[in-house]
Amino acid sequence: MVGEESGSLSGMPSIDTGTLLSVISLLIIAYVVTRVISFLLTAFSEKVGKYRIKIKMLLPILKFSIYGYTVYYIMAKLLEVSAQELILFGGLLGAAIGFGLKDLFADLIGGIIIVFEKPYQIGDKIRVGDQYGEVNDIGIRATTITTPDDNYVSIPNYVIFTQSVSSANIGNSEMMVVTDIFLEHGSDMKIARKLLKEAVVTSRFVYMSEKHPITILTKDFPFYIRLRAKAYTRDLRYEFNFESDVSSRAWKELKKKGIKPPGANLIDSSSMPDQRDR
């Protein structure tokens, strides 16, 4: 496959046209196989409900394995690269990384770390920097997410080295959703807590189990009382539906009991405390 032509530079073996075509064909086959497996596995995972994310976890591993094996096969079998040539290749690669491919290399290493360390998986809801959304794909170079506004955002894999990444569900279908309701001082909190709890447990998006309890918290602020429900939705795709469903149904009943929100001027976003505090 590899010709030892007398006129080649530095005694390096040259690659004949047949080998080159084989290499290109193999890369195309690897790409097509990856796409087909991704499509089939994704379609299957959508049918199995709560196991969706567990199945999608296999995707990046398969992808890296297929590409990894293809590269190994090309190097070892087609090009028959010797140890000496490998060192030479390593040197060239090092130079290439030093000159301009270092980001691409960092992305590749980042991708491998994401696959094995699993800071997040396909299907997770993650926040990286200012971006928040559901992970669609973990590729060789970048991770793509879909934001709540349906924007498709590509995040380079090396970002995991430089920024903190938060995953809302770490590979599970369910995820915690925090729903806040603000009430005026003097409201009957016993009734309000009961109604909010019932709005949560009767929501068609809720998920409850021994390990996934519902918590209702109350906190006084100078101009209003915050009632907070912490509960899990059965599928992270219902995150916003769940929040909206609980909030709207709770308010409908709270108003019937004469419980009101604080004056509109008292809740403006600039004066709000950090929503993530407890």
Binding site: V48, S173, E174, E198, R204, S209
Partner: protein, 340 residues
């Protein structure tokens, strides 16, 4: 055993549970015992069990059977009279899956734990029970919990055939060409843009494949084949077993091929799945109750129409219930969607 020493087939498979409840009733006279919850899915024989217990303790118990959602507490007060032991059938009707729908059950649970030395024997749908366990920790109110197990294949056979004379039913071998195939070409109907359209596709018959794999070259008689098929669908649920039998019997004959796999691949949207989960938990519900529970955001008419068209539910005088033969696959579907 019945009065004349005959076997009472209606309570087949429930003997241990009856004994356990009877022992608890006896304990009460000695100042022991506690309230009992009998928990099972629909068609599993809760009412049969409770009726038997009631008939065995006529002078000691009073019973009320709830058949629809309790909206007025007076219904419960009817039984708070003299007798020491109260039996309440279908307690899942004590709450509604809506905001403000838990007041009656909360008062009932307080009654159960009141210091008066009274015992309650209650029956619950298992999905309602699991829901109330998450919301109200209901198991803490009932020290004795009895979960009904399904019948064995042989018990299901005995129960079904107990209604016929010996030799009355003819079990017939399938003609070769009518035997179930492992892969079938089927057309499923679905509603698209308010029109019913058929979607042709191939469907794998898992039951047939499993049967082929597990048979290990043992040739079964048509009768064994029939009851094996019924059992594989009903998983020992007596009500489901009977329903499948009645649907398949062309009196007085029945063939293994007549026991059709009732489950299609369920494709339901979120609203339809939610309505189905309500029906699976409540066992039966009126249209008005469903409307009250589902609220304004669900198109209930459309969801009920889809569930009816797909032969998942049946209705009678505006009361909806799941079809027995569908219960198992509906429950599996809802479990995958985490709605039960």
């Amino acid at each position: 055993m019945g009065k004349d020493g005959e076997v009472d087939f209606s309570i087949i498979g429930l003997e241990n549970e009856i004994e356990q409840i009877q022992s608890n009733i006896d304990d009460l006279e000695n100042g022991k015992g506690g309230s009992i919850a009998i928990i099972a899915e629909q068609f599993a024989g809760k009412t049969t069990l409770i009726n038997k217990v009631c008939s065995m303790n006529k002078n000691r118990v009073e019973m009320i059977s709830l058949s629809s959602v309790v909206k007025d507490e007076k219904k419960l007060q009817e039984i708070e009279e003299q007798k020491q032991i109260k039996i309440i059938d279908n307690c899942h009707f004590l709450y509604r899956h809506k905001i403000g729908g838990f007041d009656i059950i909360e008062r009932f649970l307080k009654t159960v734990t009141s210091p008066e030395n009274k015992q309650y024997i209650t029956t619950w749908n298992i999905h309602s029970w699991n829901f109330l366990e998450n919301t109200h920790e209901i198991s803490k109110y009932f020290p004795v919990q009895i979960k009904l197990q399904g019948l064995t294949q042989e018990q299901a056979r005995q129960l079904i055939l107990s209604e016929y004379e010996e030799g009355e039913i003819q079990f017939i071998e399938d003609p070769t060409e009518n035997k179930e195939k492992m892969i079938n070409f089927v057309i499923d109907n679905t509603i698209f843009l308010n029109k019913e359209i058929g979607i042709p596709h191939l469907k794998i018959n898992y039951r047939q494949i499993k049967s082929k794999l597990s048979r290990k070259k043992i040739i079964l008689t048509p009768e064994e084949n029939i009851f094996e098929n019924i059992y594989s669908i009903s998983k020992g649920n007596p009500g489901i077993s009977k329903a499948i039998w009645e649907q398949s019997l062309v009196y007085p004959q029945i063939k293994p091929g007549d026991i059709k796999e009732p489950c299609q691949d369920m494709e339901l949207d979120n609203d339809e799945s939610f309505i189905l989960s309500i029906l699976v938990s409540m066992q039966n519900a009126s249209r008005s109750d469903i409307i009250e529970i589902a609220g304004d955001e669900i198109d209930i008419e459309r969801a009920l129409q889809v569930l009816s068209k797909k032969n998942i539910i049946s209705s009678e005088r505006e009361h909806y219930t799941i079809k027995p033969e569908i219960l198992k696959c509906a429950t599996n579907f809802l479990r995958r969607s985490r709605l039960v």
